[in-house]
Amino acid sequence: MILRAVGDRSTWRAELAVALFLIAFPWIFPAIGGYANLATRILILGLFGIGMDLIFGYTGMLSFGQAAFYGTGGFVTAYLLSTGLLHNTLWALAAGTIVAALCGTLIGYLCLRQAGVYFAMLTLAFGEVFYFLENSPLAKWTGGENGLPGLPKPEIPLGFTTLHVHSNLALYYFVAVCFFAGYWIARRIVRSPMGAVLRAILENPARAAAVGHNVPKYKLAIFTIAAAYAGMAGGLLGIFQGYMPPDAFSIDQSGEIIIMTIIGGAGTLIGPLVGAGLWSYLREALQNLHGVGAFWKIILGLTFIVLVTLFRRGIAGGISDGIGLFRLRRAPAPRTDEGTA
């Protein structure tokens, strides 16, 4: 916490590091058996996870229904593009994000009257409602269990020219730009006065209210923003694969994003990306290991148990703690005493 406050001069350093990483990622990833498409998937989940981190890591609200917004954003975008109602990928993506955010406001309005485990249960219930809606009553538009195939490759008119995003690497950089925009906005939010209020709500909601902050309003705002992140990630998923799968709405999806956020490190913004990277990479690598076959899930599960036990603030949290410890050790003796006292 102290480190974060100290970082005023280094505000841009995290952004720069993330930008450099995003540029280099598809080039260094193949060294460990990764490839551009897997990197793209990781970024999409990382973007989804930023929203999860904003509500869970920064505000302390555990939502089990984020897949509802992931799916909503995805299916709205996919519907607009696959039916040809919109040709501009960015408009379709924006429409999906906005509809997901509106759903977020509605669900948030209904769920945020409760806190803690009751809030979690309500979001779980709404997540299931959305899954059911997609599968049965709205099947005419969503394709039900079949999902929506046939999304064209992204076309982005810039006025003077139209970008045709066709190769895997181009798709990666398209998603990377979206991810970076999402990360940059999230950084601005958590470092703003609003971010301070959110952390106050995380630590003690009653005290935050007592000093005059409108706690429900802040919660609703951040819940809506998180839904927008989920919606945008869902939209990108459909655009990326050319197919929007029904399982985007599933409870598994909500669970996975929570696990990725916690493994990677909640309250770090970049943690979910780390978690998603580890999850997706291990998933691929284990399935291709000879003799592992159907046991990949067990190994993945055991790995996560070990990680949660070792890193109580996730991998990203653990690393930043490690750097903090290193800096304290290197500092002059009197300050070290203060630090450890």
Binding site: Y35, N146, G147, N168, G242, Y243, P246, S250, A294
Partner: protein
């Protein structure tokens, strides 16, 4: 400066040109026959999908997608066994490969087959993800697999978009070769319509014409189309449809549906559930006492359903399967007997006494059918392979001579109708069924176009 550079460059390129010519001349004298052969097999087809990138080396990669985990994982495991055995035989000889004249047992068109397996978890997204990677990264020349029609249709659409041939694993939905049919997708399993049409005459003969049926239906394309077809054909023989209940895939507690079914007043329980869901729902139905008052029918019996629910429950149950090992050496069905025996023996040997189920049969026969088509086309170029598969040429495998229908890519093949044996009548622990009949494919298939198939283009 400029001029000098220019001179240097042209000198360099002249030098290269001379070297190149010498090399070409050397190759022409030494490797001439090889080049002619390569030119003949390539026949200068344009690049399409993963062709020719996927077959430029000495291997050809097959991307297998199956349910290693998930609701249909038992069937998925059997499916993978079938693919592995087929690839082993195609690369090294043995099994039915020796019975197909075009197949050498030394790979396909001289390319050794390699494969990777991706877990679909019985969900469309992981399946599409795995298939995309096989196509993009590994340049798979053919993709195949899965056991859920919803997943199979998603994969076929991906295959159509990426122009890579896709052979569906287990898929019973009418939509697979109906409204969702694809030029790049092929299906050998009988469709829901074929199952129902084959089953109805047997039901009429054995159970009479005044029955009242209630259905438990998995809520996706396979379940709903199989329900529609069963309803159509049982009502034609005079049965009444009392009600049907839709349950999502992966349901663990069927009590709310079974309570309604138990109280429906029906005397026939048609269980359309598949895989692990078929086992769970049937076991729970037994606990509800449903089988005391109702006869069960399972129009398409999952590979490991009898093992899961036990022979006592399966005894007297009517249904169909894509293939049943009891055809092996069965004198009543001479067309299927000999080849089924070869497949059964090879499978038992490979997997140390584990019996193959029909999902393994789909995998095995379809992979050989594809390899035969590639050999006869003389190229891996997808449109040529597809046109060869569409040619109506019959290949003699486990079920006797079979071929795909050009108009919708449904295989025209006989449909085995089965009845569960009593435990006392079983010859061994895998001997769950007696074969009531084999309905010829031509009699069972729906008229072309009934389910709205319009095949998209080749390129």
């Amino acid at each position: 400066m400029d001029t000098r550079n220019g001179t240097k460059e042209s000198a360099l390129s002249r030098n290269l040109f001379l070297k190149g010519t010498a090399a070409a001349a050397a190759t022409a004298t030494v490797g001439f026959p090889a080049i002619v052969r390569a030119a003949k097999s390539a026949k200068s087809y344009p690049a399409l999908g993963t062709f020719p990138a996927g077959v430029s080396g000495d291997t050809a990669m097959i991307g297998i997608i199956s349910d290693l985990t998930g609701s249909y994982s038992a069937d998925g495991e059997d499916l993978v066994k079938g693919y592995k055995l087929a690839i082993k035989h195609l690369n090294g000889g043995g099994g039915l490969v020796s019975k197909v004249p075009t197949l050498s047992g030394k790979g396909v068109l001289g390319k050794r087959l390699v494969y990777k397996i991706g877990d679909s978890e019985t969900k469309a997204n992981p399946a599409v993800q795995a298939a995309t990677e096989f196509i993009e990264r590994d340049k798979a020349i053919m993709i195949c697999g899965d056991t859920s029609s919803a997943v199979v249709i998603a994969l076929a659409k991906l295959a159509q978009r990426e122009k890579v041939v896709f052979l569906s694993g287990a898929s019973g939905s009418n939509d697979t070769t109906g409204k969702d049919c694809q030029r790049y997708g092929f299906r050998s399993q009988p469709s829901a319509y074929m199952d129902a049409k084959a089953l109805a005459p047997v039901l009429k003969k054995e159970l009479g014409t005044k029955r009242r049926a209630v259905y438990l239906v998995p809520d996706y394309t396979y379940g709903t189309t199989l329900y529609d077809s069963m309803k159509e054909f049982t009502e034609k023989i005079g049965w009444t449809t009392v009600n049907h209940y839709l349950a999502p895939v992966g349901t663990t507690d069927y009590s709310s549906y079974l309570l309604n079914i138990a109280n429906s007043g029906a005397d026939v329980f048609v269980n359309i559930e598949f895989g692990n869901d078929a086992v769970a729902s049937t076991k729970q139905a037994a606990q509800f006492g449903i089988f005391k008052t109702m006869q069960m029918i399972v129009p398409n019996i999952s590979s490991y359903m009898p093992d899961g629910v036990g022979a006592e429950i399966m005894a007297g149950v009517y249904g169909t399967q894509d293939w049943y090992w009891g055809l092996a050496g069965n004198k009543a069905y001479p067309e299927a007997a000999a080849n089924s025996k070869i497949f059964l023996d090879a499978f038992l040997k490979e997997y140390h006494g584990i019996y193959p189920r029909w999902t393994a049969h789909i995998a095995y026969d379809q992979t050989l059918t594809w390899a035969d088509a590639v050999e006869r086309a003389g190229t891996f170029y997808p449109p040529e392979v597809i046109k060869t598969l569409e040619s109506g040429h019959k290949i003699d495998l486990c079920l006797g001579p079979v071929a795909y229908r050009a108009g919708d890519h449904q295989q025209i093949r006989p449909v085995p109708v089965l009845k569960g044996k009593k435990p006392s009548a079983m010859a061994n622990k895998d001997d769950y069924f007696e074969i009531v009949g084999m309905v010829p494919g031509a009699e069972a298939v729906p008229p072309l176009g009934l389910f709205g198939c319009h095949l998209p283009g080749y390129t």
